[in-house]
Amino acid sequence: MISQNLNFFLIFLSAMIVNNILLMRFIALCSFFGISNNMQASVGMGFAVIFVMIMATTISWLVYHYLLVPFDLLYLRTASFILTIATFVQLEEMVIRKLFPPLYRSLGIYLPLIVVNCAVLAAAFLVIDYNLGFLKSLVYTLGVGAGYFFAIVMFAGIRERVNLAPIPKSFQGYPIAFITASLMSLAFLGFKGLFGL
């Protein structure tokens, strides 16, 4: 039982830090650079991504293993995942708006953006590619989401400081953001040797 738990813990850490989705896998960079100008927006987006990602993986895992595999429809994987996720996000937005207005006020504007956030779809694909069971998929997705949150909030914090620094003209804006990201990625690279999935 303990080793089983440890396993979950390793999956979580590996997804969150060692294979950080933003800095190591380069997924969902559009939002990473687009939103991280603003600390508050980054926190909001981070929570929204964790939330949607877990829901989306649950649904797409079930769709894959109970619809696509038994009926031999694997070639529909890409189309069916993106459509279920898009539909689901829409549905979720309506439910949250109805039942949890405060949550909607803080996450609402980010939900539609998430449909095109590759991180959500990537997490759904990765758990299928790694052939994880249902519970492990959820833990893995939670790790990916936590990694996203962790990286984007840290990056937003750094960018707030960088914006005040004197930077050569042609590096202002995005170029310096990329170089900042490079240094962060370098720091995350240090975890690479620890363990991996």
């Binding site: 380069f26 189309a79 459509l83 694909f125 590619d129 490079s182 990625s185």
Partner: protein
């Protein structure tokens, strides 16, 4: 808006380069550009998808109700992505493995969706086709260049051919993730310095 078809083709290469200027769809260029060959492969797959989806969407733009256009576009795009994914798996299994999850992820690539929404849904077939080709070339150019620089510095080769003298110590960092951010950061700065007049776009 009438600037001729040639302009639709060339604007994607430098003036409105999808990666450097519009800053969309950054994930695949950074992730798969560990070598020039990988970059070229990804670029070709991307070209096929963006040209195909631009073509189809401009053909059906008259009959798609605007409320459901996004799901329709997604379906069109994912059809092309599935074709590419399966073709790569069948004919170039090695490339398919090194591109991995990034081929299916072209579906959510913002450039494809962005061009569908911003261009193909408002313009005729010929212009959309040219726009798709231009965007595809611009994307391929940058991703291959990025791959070549990283391969050159990180491995001393370009497209697998040794370029630098054997005394060169490969700088492994450039093949690893931080190198991608670093190279594209410098590429953007250079682009800003040399191609952008007046700074603001």
């Amino acid at each position: 808006m009438k600037k001729g078809l040639l302009h639709e083709l060339t604007k994607g290469i430098i003036e409105e380069n999808p990666i450097l200027i519009i800053m969309l769809g950054l994930c695949p260029p950074l992730a798969v550009s560990t070598s020039a060959a990988n970059g070229l492969g990804m670029g070709a797959a991307f070209c096929f998808v963006v040209i195909g989806s631009n073509l189809v969407i401009s053909l059906i733009r008259g009959i798609v109700p605007s409320q459901i256009r996004i799901p329709v576009y997604i379906t069109v795009i994912s059809t092309f992505v599935t074709i590419v994914d399966y073709a790569l798996k069948a004919y170039l299994p090695l490339l398919s493995r090194s591109l991995g999850v990034f081929v299916p992820l072209i579906v959510v690539n913002c450039i494809v969706m962005g061009r569908a929404e911003a261009f193909a849904s408002r313009n005729g077939v010929a212009a959309s086709l040219m726009d798709g080709i231009g965007m595809g070339i611009g994307f391929t150019l940058i991703i291959t260049l990025l791959g070549a620089v990283r391969e050159l510095l990180g491995n001393g080769t370009v497209f697998g051919f040794p370029v630098l003298p054997s005394a060169y110590q490969p700088f492994l960092l450039f093949i690893l993730p931080p190198g991608a951010f670093l190279v594209i950061g410098f590429m953007m700065a250079a682009q800003k310095k040399f191609f952008q007049k007046g700074g603001a776009r």
